[in-house]
């Protein structure tokens, strides 16, 4: 009968038990999962069943992890995203969420840049943890990404991005995610990157404060190769803070726009 064992199709004798397949394919596994549910070793398997064999605490090899991660992807996606390099300018509320989404999606290389350190107030929306307070965000995020997918190559730049170093930092990127906080910084980055690399897309974020309706957040195309994710209007201000849900919506609009661009799709249409 044909089964899928750790995401690879195998031909095995009819009526094999989960335990016998473990012995054959991954003898040191101590967790057996059949069709998404924990299974006992004596559970018989049938045609088309999915068996996942795990050893607790073990990090899969690069090849194994690739197969496991991409099993949930849409077919054909992975080969294209693993060849990509995505730049992320700023790893606060937007950038940290974008980085994690892209790492989970199997993007081959991320270039992340931010001068900032993790502070307690960041934890209301940024993808950092209590034990990372005081650390540079780019290094904390690099550590977090390694815990998700150690085969994503992360270049961490602990510095302030300026118009003079944008080319050097992000020149190797296929496209850039603008994930700064201040409007002046957003404008500076977009103007300079688009001038230096007019053919490379920029996915920027603008307008995501508060807890207004989610449906207010959109992805739209602006000038040249610039895409804007946000509601375009709701600035962060005293009384209108940045909160995890809406910032996350904007960030995932950005991450999905990146994915669509890498796969040759129009982010908007």
């Amino acid at each position: 009968m044909k089964l899928i064992i750790n995401e690879i199709a195998r031909e095995v004798p009819d009526g094999c038990s989960a335990g016998s397949l473990r012995d054959q394919f991954k003898a040191d596994a101590d967790v057996l999962i059949v069709n998404g549910f924990p299974a006992e070793p004596d559970q018989p398997l049938g045609e088309g069943d999915r068996l996942v064999l795990i050893r607790r605490g073990e990090v899969p090899s690069a090849g194994e992890l690739e197969a496991l991660l991409t099993a949930r992807h849409t077919p054909g996606v992975h080969e294209r995203v693993r060849r990509a390099t995505v730049g992320i300018a700023g790893v606060g509320g937007l950038g940290s969420a974008v980085a994690i989404a892209l790492a989970r999606s199997g993007v081959g290389r991320l270039i992340i840049a931010d001068f900032d350190l993790v502070e307690p107030s960041n934890l209301n929306r940024q993808q950092y943890f209590l034990d990372q307070i005081g650390h540079p965000k780019v290094y904390a995020l690099r550590d977090t990404l390694a815990r998700i997918n150690p085969y994503v190559h992360v270049t961490a730049c602990h510095l302030r991005v300026t118009r003079d170093n944008i080319g050097e930092i992000f020149g190797a990127a296929d496209l850039l995610v603008e994930a700064f906080d201040r409007a002046e910084q957003k404008a500076m980055l977009v103007e300079n990157f688009a001038t230096l690399f007019p053919e490379k897309p920029v996915v920027a974020g603008s307008g995501m404060a508060g807890y207004g309706p989610s449906n207010g957040v959109t992805t739209r195309k602006a000038i040249g190769q610039l895409y804007l994710c946000g509601d375009g209007a709701t600035a962060a201000a005293p009384g209108v803070g940045l909160m995890a849900p809406r910032v996350g919506i904007a960030a995932h609009h950005q991450a999905n726009a990146v994915l669509r661009l890498l796969l040759g799709e129009d982010p908007v249409a």
Binding site: E191, A222, L228
Partner: protein
């Protein structure tokens, strides 16, 4: 003179610069990216670059937060 800003017909004084237009539209020059006839105008040129009749401007205004 008649120009277009973000697809909308707009009137501005003859001899206006990009900066004049931003002032007219109450936009902070530090928070925008301006494209004039499909070319980005560097912000150091805002005060010097004169607009012309039938110019097509795209102005992206960023708001803070992220």
């Amino acid at each position: 003179m008649n120009i277009t800003v973000n697809g909308k017909p707009t009137e501005t004084a003859t001899g206006s610069t990009v900066q004049n237009l931003l002032d007219q539209l109450r936009l902070d020059s530090q928070q925008v990216v301006v494209e004039r006839n499909h070319t980005i105008v560097p912000r150091q040129h805002f005060v010097g670059e004169l607009l012309a009749e039938d110019d097509s401007l795209e102005i992206v205004h960023f708001v803070g937060g992220g």
